[in-house]
Symmetry: C2
Subunit: 154 residues, 2 copies
Amino acid sequence: MKAEVAAIATVRSPRKDLADDFWGAVEADIVLDEAFDETAFFGLDDFTHVEVLFLMHRVDAAKIEKGARHPREREDWPLVGIFAQRGKARPNRIGLTRAMIVKVVGRVLTVRGLDAIDGTPVLDVKPWMDEFAPIGVTRQPEWATELMRDYFKD
Amino acid sequence: MKAEVAAIATVRSPRKDLADDFWGAVEADIVLDEAFDETAFFGLDDFTHVEVLFLMHRVDAAKIEKGARHPREREDWPLVGIFAQRGKARPNRIGLTRAMIVKVVGRVLTVRGLDAIDGTPVLDVKPWMDEFAPIGVTRQPEWATELMRDYFKD
């Protein structure tokens, strides 16, 4: 089953290159495509956070992993399936991050902590609602905690 | 900017029809497409929750909202932009939910609380890591809290 998706916005970020860490303090603009007017963002500033879905367009399609790999090619970390990690080289190349809303001005949403480089096509923006948080206790393996240690640091 | 996406899995759920509420106790299977083997899920059972991205394929493309609308057509709720709500009839029709992992057996991931009906194409599965939770205090408007009241109830 295939479908076509189209960018609804584009990221404007000071981060021009792929990098693994320190996304916490990065402020970026999400600029709506011209097919949308500012009504598409009406009321967004009543929320504090958004979920941003984006296309990791710089990932080489030939390098997409369909089985298991070591996260960040660290052989001291376990071999885990592509759907048990958040690596970029994944089928459909869709990235997903929660970011803090800084401001909304017309067709431009400014956020903090978005790990998408300049020029990234955005597929969707959803407001964060607390009811969508994981229900119950969460647990994750040690390699994931280690990998994430500096990821959203300032 | 357009791109083609392909289902990586399909939802098998007791819920066959679109419904607005009471998704909390629903158990569903996410069955990997035959292009994948079980290695794609290796290590997923070290996590408790996943984020599931899916295509809301039953939404009529002609009904997609690009501006603002009342959530659930409730005129007593404010007119909000499509990117300030989580309604189905949205550009690219991508749904996103966190669900609890019940078990992983071969190419089948069983989850609890997935608000996708039987037959829904899945675009991605990502493990939940606590570092991806919203940073800082969260806030949302009253209509959103009211709308979500029974959504993930058992």
